[in-house]
Amino acid sequence: MNFEFPEELKILKEEAYKFAVREFTPVSQECDREEKYPREVWKKACEYGFIGAWIPEEYGGAGAGFLANTIITEQFSRVDMGIGLIMASCFGAENIYLYGTEEQKKEYLPRIASGEIIFAGAYTEPNAGTDVAGIRTRAVRDGDHFVLNGQKMFITNGSICDYFVVFCITHADAPRHKRFSLLIVDAHSPGITRNKIQGKMGIRASDTAEISFEDVRVPVENIVGKEGNGFYQLMDFFNTTRTMVAGQGVGLAQGALDKAAQYVQEREVFGQPLAHFQGVQFQLAEMATRIELARQLTYKAAWQVDQGRIDPKLSAMAKYYAGETAVWVADKALQLHGGYGYIDEYDVQRFYRDAKILEIYEGTKEAEKLTIAKIVLKEYQKG
């Protein structure tokens, strides 16, 4: 057992934080207010090698692994989680890394790392979110193409991406979980309509869209992994990317604590700094403890992915607990700011709005509890 933080990760952590403070802060309020995607910041982050840090060097990435990816995400989210979602410009492409062919990896991964293209993962539909096997989008074989029809909902990067990885039905008559495949779809293909969704509670710098596919032709070689194996591959995908989302939670919570711990030492009430009151001190203690718990869980889950031993239970635990912690900590931090916590001039209200998504996307926390419970029960199965 060794809990030592390797030197290179320590440096990466500091660099990522410095980058976020320098590059995010000046555009933070504008992106939030105007629901604007921070294109320049994303480009710059690519130059620094932060984006797709998990992409192996042979495919143009930093080859730093998923733990490093999580740590960068954490540091970005500590400053502004909405802008930090530039880390999700590779979202969906993890499918290619996990199951793609050599050609697919060579074709897409280097261009993600270099900032030429943005990806999106399109799984959710208006009537199927948690129950992802309830989707209806269909791809029907027509010669050396698939013809894709259907609707996707709440797709991160949906209106700005260059490629989607689409979760769709290819084997309608197969048993429920064997019907699906993952397809790489050029976002500029004819038949695709994308509508940006305006008016999110938080992460307003991140793009979210509703997509419709109408007779979109996709070459058969764009299948990721095995036809009919899409559902199982998607689960592996989530178990991998949940470590990044857990990193968002840890980072957001840490950022909220950063602000609260400073504020209570500056603000005086009843003739003394707020920090002198025990009620305040104990809140900080609880916030810091939960953050540390979430962080250890998250790092371990990400480390497991890097060992090539994805642990679905641990990934789900990390994502669920880090998300819940972020909401809880942001709420306390807001309250500690009193009236100032509620106005736009102070960032803590943005942290509060941003945090809530962490319990919803990438599987709601209930979806994660379903996974955890199933595995726990299996572990104790008789015989």
């Binding site: 009537n127 509670m201 009236g339 919803i360 509890k369």
Partner: protein, 377 residues
């Protein structure tokens, strides 16, 4: 408690909201303020200060009518239209403390909606600790000259009359050196700062107020000289009770919309409400909402009888405001991705309700009051 005439009034007010308020809320939210005209319309329809005696332009209604208005505004997602602050928090100061001349001058216009009210206690450097207020008022002949700044003042931009808590005693006079002074819209030296952009209550004009050698007639002093702090304390019971009423009504509205959503939305072939975890969550919420309602109704009843309820009202303000936020949190979750979208009312409720544990005295300040009353601190 509520009789048939109350129910009739409630329905009339609901229809009024459906017609005059709800259809415009989205625009008002974008504009950061409600138009003056809606205040006039409310006044003309008898929905402002209904409790005022007829001689001052009211209809002599009991406190329950005020409760109904606050509840229905909250349920309609229109807390930003802060009529309850005007009618039931600020106007009572004028009624209880004003001279006959002041009352005749102002109150009829408060009831008609021609005059909008605000109360300014909070300053940039002090909120919870009211005894530390620094805005100064000095006597100069027949005038008060006021210097200082207030912040987070509800109705701050629209207000035609603001009751300003000022230091009239020595700088270190603490609670014993404050007075309430009425500042009217056109008083020289009175300016409005920013209409503060905030996380929720977007249509509410919460603003900064600036007093720079602001001159108001000496007779604008309200109540006793140096008695301001005690006047504030006397009125905070009703203010906090109203905050609890709003929070409770919001919790009830959120619960109702969420039960409706959760029974209609399906996943894995059944309504999401039918998963045991969700069903239990909803039951927990329904239980908490009922507890809040039972407590609150008792307090409303006791308040109607004029009882001193400071301890209980402080508990209720703290607990119900926190409870409403717990409810908001679970309800957004039950809406899944849709709960995160402004298009769904729950999303706005979540942002709006978060202010209730902060204004009208924070949860922690409520606990300080109760702790003192229990002899703990």
């Amino acid at each position: 408690m509520f009789r048939e005439e109350h129910q009739i009034f409630r329905e009339a007010f609901r229809r009024f909201l459906d017609r005059e308020v709800t259809p415009h809320m989205e625009r008002w939210e974008a504009e950061g303020i409600v138009p003056r005209q809606v205040w006039r319309t409310m006044g003309e329809a008898g929905f402002l200060c209904p409790w005022l005696p007829e001689e001052y332009g009211g209809s002599g209604a009991d406190f329950l009518y005020s409760v109904i208005i606050a509840e229905e505004l909250a349920k309609a997602g229109a807390v930003s239209l802060m009529a309850p602050l005007h009618s039931d928090i600020v106007a009572p100061y004028l009624y209880a403390l004003g001279t006959e001349e002041q009352k005749m001058r102002w109150l009829p216009r408060c009831a008609s909606g021609e005059m909008i009210l605000a109360v300014a206690m909070t300053e940039p450097n002090t909120g919870s600790d009211l005894a530390a207020i620094r805005t100064r008022a000095e006597r100069d002949g027949d005038f008060w000259v006021i210097n200082g700044q207030k912040t987070f003042i509800s109705n701050g931009i629209l207000a035609d009359l603001v009751i300003v808590a000022c230091r009239t005693g020595a700088p270190d006079s603490g609670a014993k050196g404050l007075s309430l002074i009425c500042v009217e819209r056109d008083a020289p030296g009175f300016a409005r700062g920013r209409n503060l952009k905030k996380m929720g209550l977007h249509a509410q004009d919460t603003a900064e107020l600036i007093f720079d050698e602001c001159r108001v007639p000496a007779e604008n002093l309200l109540g006793r000289l140096h008695g301001g702090f005690y006047h504030l304390m006397d009125h905070l019971q009703q203010e906090r009770l109203m905050a609890a009423v709003m929070a409770q009504a919001m919790a009830e509205a959120m619960l109702e919309m969420t039960i409706h959503y959760a029974r209609g939305r399906t996943a894995f072939g059944r309504p999401i409400a039918a998963f045991q975890h969700n069903a239990f969550k909803i039951v927990d919420m329904a239980t908490e909402v009922k507890l809040g309602r039972a407590f609150l109704d008792r307090l409303i009843g006791d308040h109607l009888e004029g009882k001193d309820l400071v301890t209980d009202v402080s508990m209720a303000k703290a607990w119900i405001a926190e409870m409403a936020n717990r409810v908001a949190y679970q309800c957004v979750q039950l809406h899944g991705g849709y709960g995160y979208m402004e298009e769904y009312p729950i999303s706005r409720f979540y942002r709006d309700v978060r202010v209730i544990p902060i204004f009208a005295g924070t949860t922690e300040v409520m606990k300080l009051i109760v702790a003192k009353r229990l002899g703990l601190l």
